[in-house]
């Protein structure tokens, strides 16, 4: 009997110890992981902001958030950096788990996919008539057209990429060319590029004069598009799109696919001062607006110029593809009003002049031309006059973006695939476009059969 009691008592002690250790571990874990949580000031509602802006962009984001938190007393924005590779799945899971952020900055061009899937709240429902009017009349053309799906705005632009030509004047001079007379057509740029190419003794490329790449970046210059706004239809196999792809393929052939692969695989990463344009590995290259601020920081003394992509014969000038950073408010956000208030502040929707100071911090395009005309923005432009090229292009209507269809991620993946097939010579440009059109048609049919939104 006594032995039995002793056994029971030992067992109880065991359980007590086990429970104690488990509780201590849990508390310790909680303390360790909750240590970084930011305190919310009394009387304020928390606004959770998820963003992807790490490295040199992290500090400016936190500065903008601090500026907002100081500007009012209702909300406290708490930013959280999410890594790019996991951002989409985190957004998806947070909505599914009913614990999403109140506002999130995303890079993936998938607002129509997420909007049609019910992941996002339509932002137009938060807008006052004045805000809507301002957005639709004053924002840059590409900004006011982007983020919509079936009459609702699911993402508001917070910085958008445009692509122009960057070139190195000293390479022009070295080749006996006048850097003040940049070629007027795309075909002429290719010819000038040939004069700027350099090879080693084994005939491997050491410097690339000009190599147009990425089909989507040139479609607009050839007068093409991936979407017809009037009919709401995706347009892929059109004469203009075909010409753009043929142009890229023909130019690539000159150097040979393997040689280009070899050359590119030996290039360093394109961040900071490693960008090959800075080291002189490219003489003319087409790239985005963020490079200007990158070069101001990493190579402030480098002589370079920018110019809109010259149109091909019969093409369009001031044309570019644009990929867009969106601010979105997920479904199930606890404080969507707070998320929207911060969105207006950061994007400049409520005051374009006040928000103008944020964009130079990242080297981004503002949403409104008014922001670009403020003294603070002008002062920054004086330090980076090359950026004015992007502001010129931003005024243009010849900007192509990701089509606002609910299968836009599939579509853009397949557009990239067609580009790759043609560039590798596996298919001719015409075959690549025919196959692209057939693949997309099949995917649309599959979605229809499953009952997805068109």
């Amino acid at each position: 009997m006594k032995a039995e009691e002793n056994g029971t008592s030992t067992r109880r002690q065991w359980i007590r110890n086990a429970v104690g250790i488990t509780a201590a571990t849990a508390l310790g874990g909680y303390a360790a992981f909750s240590g970084g949580a930011r305190r919310i000031r009394k009387g304020r509602k928390e606004v959770r902001l998820w963003h992807l802006l790490g490295a040199e962009w992290l500090e400016p984001v936190e500065r903008a958030v601090a500026r907002y938190n100081e500007s009012q007393s209702r909300y406290e924005v708490v930013p959280l950096l999410i890594t790019d590779s996991e951002a989409d799945s985190k957004l998806l899971l947070s909505v599914a788990g009913n614990d999403p952020p109140d506002v999130m900055l995303v890079w993936t061009q998938g607002t129509s996919v997420w909007g049609s899937g019910g992941l996002l709240q339509p932002l137009d429902t938060f807008m006052t008539p004045e805000e809507r009017q301002r957005f639709l009349t004053e924002a840059y053309p590409v900004v006011r057209k982007s983020g919509w799906y079936r009459g609702h705005l699911y993402g508001i632009t917070m910085g958008f990429d445009l692509f122009v030509c960057y070139y190195r004047p000293e390479h022009f001079r070295e080749a006996g060319l006048d850097p003040d007379r940049f070629p007027a057509t795309l075909e002429e740029v290719v010819e000038v590029g040939k004069k700027l190419d350099r090879f080693d003794s084994s005939k491997h490329i050491t410097r690339l004069g000009f190599l147009p790449q990425t089909w989507e970046n040139y479609v607009a210059s050839f007068g093409g598009n991936f979407y017809d706004e009037k009919t709401g239809q995706v347009t892929l196999n059109t004469p203009e799109n075909l010409r753009a792809l043929e142009f890229l393929v023909e130019t690539r052939k000159r150097l040979g696919l393997n040689e280009v692969i070899r050359f590119q695989s030996g290039l360093p990463s394109d961040s900071g001062a490693s960008w090959p344009f800075i080291s002189g590995t490219f003489s003319i290259t087409v790239d985005g607006e963020w490079r200007v601020e990158q070069m101001r920081r990493s190579a402030p003394k480098l002589e370079y110029r920018t110019i809109p992509i010259p149109p091909p014969a019969g093409g369009k000038s001031l044309a570019s593809f644009s990929s867009i950073n969106y601010l979105v408010i997920p479904r199930g956000a606890r404080n969507p009003e707070g998320g929207w208030e911060f969105t207006k502040f950061w994007t400049g929707l409520d005051d374009p002049e006040a928000a103008a100071e944020f964009f130079p911090w990242y080297g981004w395009m503002p949403l409104f031309p008014r922001s670009a005309k403020t003294p603070v923005y002008e002062a920054w432009l004086k330090t980076v006059p090359q950026y004015r090229t992007f502001l010129r292009v931003a005024e243009s209507e010849n900007i192509v973006t990701t089509p606002p269809v609910p299968y836009q991620l599939y579509l853009m993946d397949w557009i990239t695939r067609a580009d790759d097939l043609a560039m590798r010579g596996t298919l001719t440009p015409r075959q690549a476009l025919e196959q692209l059109e057939a693949d997309v048609a099949r995917e649309r049919q599959r979605r229809r059969d499953l009952g997805y939104a068109e």
Binding site: I15, G117, L119, R262, G266, Q445, D449, L450, G451, Y452
Partner: protein
């Protein structure tokens, strides 16, 4: 039951974890495979449509299946040959052998992601280690991961990097072979090759069988390296089944379709495993 409740309490974290994170998703995915489901909206019943479309209208599905089959058909036998070969060499009674065993085992404990990034550099056509070595012999190496013909082989080659894990199991199997068998064979005048052919390999077949089963299952789940290094390219040459499933689920929000793919994969692996099990009577020799 009452007597054992303390024991159950102690293993309850595992039981709860298994029920919530394994059994429930497993059963739920069976249902989702018959639905249109984007994880956010409620699932909508579509019957066999997902399965029908996979088999009849989705060329990517067949492509992904083909890539995975080819990979399994190459990587698993090569892994066995190399693993057994290494184990035989490391089973020799030489000085410092434990050091060699450690060296060959080490790569298998390096995280897959780290290995993938290292191989991205090793296989870089311009500045990579492999092509630089080849250049010393006057050979211009291929573009490895960027070349349609070479990319799948690059991943097969890379899979052999982790062969140390199975090698250790082969080594344990070799140690388990009774020495009296070798002694008897030597007395009978058997050559080293004959001893290998008629004693070592037959006695090792249970271990080989185990590694083949695990290898086939692993090959059909191959994902991380392809996701990090090639994203399925170039031209879908490394579009592994698990990678395509992931794209459908997480990029295109087609969880129902992806669930159907997961169940097909499960069946394929089950069929292959049972075929290997059925074949063991012909080639696996158990002691006694």
């Amino acid at each position: 039951m009452k007597k054992n409740w303390v024991g159950y309490a102690f293993i309850s974290p595992w039981i709860i974890g298994f029920l919530v994170f394994t059994l429930y998703p497993f059963l739920a995915s069976f249902y989702f495979a018959f639905t249109r489901y984007d994880i956010v909206s409620p699932p909508h019943w579509v019957g066999m449509t997902n399965y029908r479309m996979l088999f009849t209208t989705d060329p990517q599905f067949w492509k992904a299946l083909g890539v995975t089959f080819r990979f399994a058909a190459c990587a698993v036998p090569l892994g066995v040959v190399l693993g057994v070969g290494l184990a035989l060499l490391l089973n020799l009674n030489l000085r410092g052998m434990s050091l060699f065993r450690t060296i060959f085992y080490l790569p298998s404990i390096v995280p897959t992601i780290a290995t993938a990034f290292v191989f991205l550099w090793i296989l870089n056509p311009e500045i990579g280690l492999v092509n630089r070595l080849l250049k010393n012999f006057g050979i211009e190496g291929p573009a490895w991961l960027q070349d349609t013909a070479w990319a799948p082989w690059s991943l097969v080659l890379m899979s052999l990097w982790g062969v140390g894990g199975s090698m250790v199991i082969y080594l344990a199997g070799l140690k388990d072979i009774p020495t009296h068998l070798y002694e008897a064979a030597i007395i009978d005048g058997a050559s080293p090759f004959q001893r290998l052919r008629h004693i070592t390999l037959p006695m090792l077949t249970p271990v080989i069988f185990f590694n083949v089963v695990m290898g086939v299952i692993g090959a059909f789940q191959y994902f991380t390296e392809a996701y990090v290094m090639t994203r399925g390219g170039p031209e879908d040459s490394t579009l592994f089944y698990a990678l395509y499933l992931f794209q459908r689920a997480w990029r295109y929000l087609d969880m129902g379709y992806a669930s159907a793919m997961a169940w097909i994969l499960f069946l394929v692996v089950m069929v292959l495993t049972s075929l290997i099990f059925r074949s063991q009577r012909r080639w696996v020799h158990y002691e006694g």
